[in-house]
Symmetry: C2
DNA sequence: AGCAGCGAATGTGTCGACAATCGGCATTGA
DNA sequence: TCAATGCCGATTGTCGACACATTCGCTGCT
């Protein structure tokens, strides 16, 4: 079915001994899941995955445990693990949480980012503008571009607990939603403009405005998803 | 040192076969950590813990993995696991996140709780009032009482992602802070009164007010912690 | 006396094996 | 023909063992 991870560890020869096998496996599983190699809801057989990645079941189980912690897979006792399913409904809930959390992050970032950091972020946005997919206003990787900016802002909040919550859990789960083709990222150029506005507010240390803009930014995306969900429901 | 979990599984005779050994271990470890049997920053030796709980290292490692997911322990490759340390600084950050998240939860709950649920919650508050420790305005278990109410509100939000984020991560971590004796819960009666006010707003489906009250409620606690932190810093 | 280097012991990461359990299939009975 | 039951293979949960890394304690040197 998929050739990328078929034969026993073709590239595992270059494993970093400083990191443990289980953590390496975790990364590869995350990659496989968000890229769709392991499709949503698919049952994950431990023996199969184990020799697909060329390890024993021990580290694999640890990796699965971590994925469960990220809520990328769901395990049920004596029934094995399945890739978590994130549909439109879950995505709406996720975006509602994002709205609250990233709004807060944005306010904090406005209070603590210095000129250098702002400049660096501005450069990032300019880079994004130049991307061909964005120029065509039909971004395929726009989801990554989006979270790229958002992630930086979140990090700049200076609240490690907040960062852990978003980067360690929520973002992973958002990435699980696979059918991005539609409404959500239909307007990368508009999103990019909003990013600039947000950064403007941050630059002028206007936390209140920055939060409002960020919330509105995410809220718009959420509304778009909700419409899509409503359309799907009535169908 | 501690007698509670010394001899090899005295009470493990009544293990529920429907749940796995690892998950049972997880619960017991959480209990041991938040109760202080395993003190903050303490190194967790796998072999020692394994036969202390009467299992092998396999399930224990899985339990540790889960605890790491909850951010109750920190593991470093080839160096073992330590109980996570949550000091005043982390607690402040945690409360900042709580403010955003529970404020949101409260607004949602106001929109979706029906009369029965409100009644049930009201009963809970009345029960709380009757507790001797609360009556003495010197609540020892006030932290539990507090999260009790908060947890119910969060659940009533109807947003499973939000619930998972708070109940699955943040609350566990908040419970890690051990030195609660001071400012934070010095005024259980006041907190209780605020709970009633919040519930009033929820009852009248005033989401906006409910959110404001909840945020203020948590914000007050956070300020209290911050003062304590400032005092500690200058000391 | 303090510190560097070395060896032992403990501990972590990983593996293979075994038992209990679950899902699917065929058989049997109505 | 359909439903219930028993059986079989496959998978999960758990265990013990081994190799390497890390750490601690000791010895000897400066």
């Amino acid at each position: 079915m998929d050739r990328s991870v078929d034969n026993p560890d073709p590239d595992a020869s270059e494993v970093d001994p400083s990191e443990t096998l289980a953590s390496h496996l975790t990364d590869r599983l995350v990659q496989a899941i968000v890229s769709g190699d392991l499709s949503s809801g698919e049952k994950l057989s431990e023996p199969e995955l184990a020799n697909r990645f060329g390890t024993s079941r021990g580290p694999l189980r640890e990796a699965l445990q971590r994925l469960e912690g990220m809520r990328l897979v769901e395990r049920r006792p004596r029934q094995g693990a399945r890739v978590a399913m994130v549909g439109l409904r879950e995505l709406v809930d996720l975006y509602a949480v994002r709205e609250a959390l990233e709004g807060m992050a944005c306010r904090l970032a406005a209070g603590s980012m210095d000129a250098d950091e702002v400049r660096s972020l501005r450069r990032l946005l300019v880079d994004h503008e130049r991307r061909p997919d964005v120029q065509a206003d039909q971004g395929y990787f726009q989801a990554e571009v989006l979270t790229d900016f958002h992630f930086r802002v979140v990090q700049a909040s200076g609240n490690p607990e907040l960062v852990a919550m978003l980067a360690g859990q929520l973002y992973h789960r958002v990435r699980l939603y696979r059918y991005r083709s539609s409404q959500i990222n239909r307007r990368p150029q508009r999103a990019l403009k909003e990013h600039h506005q947000i950064l403007d507010a941050i630059e002028s240390h206007d936390g209140e405005l920055a939060e409002i803009l960020m919330r509105r930014h995410i809220h718009a995306a959420r509304l778009s998803i909700e419409q899509q969900l409503a359309a799907e429901m009535s169908r």
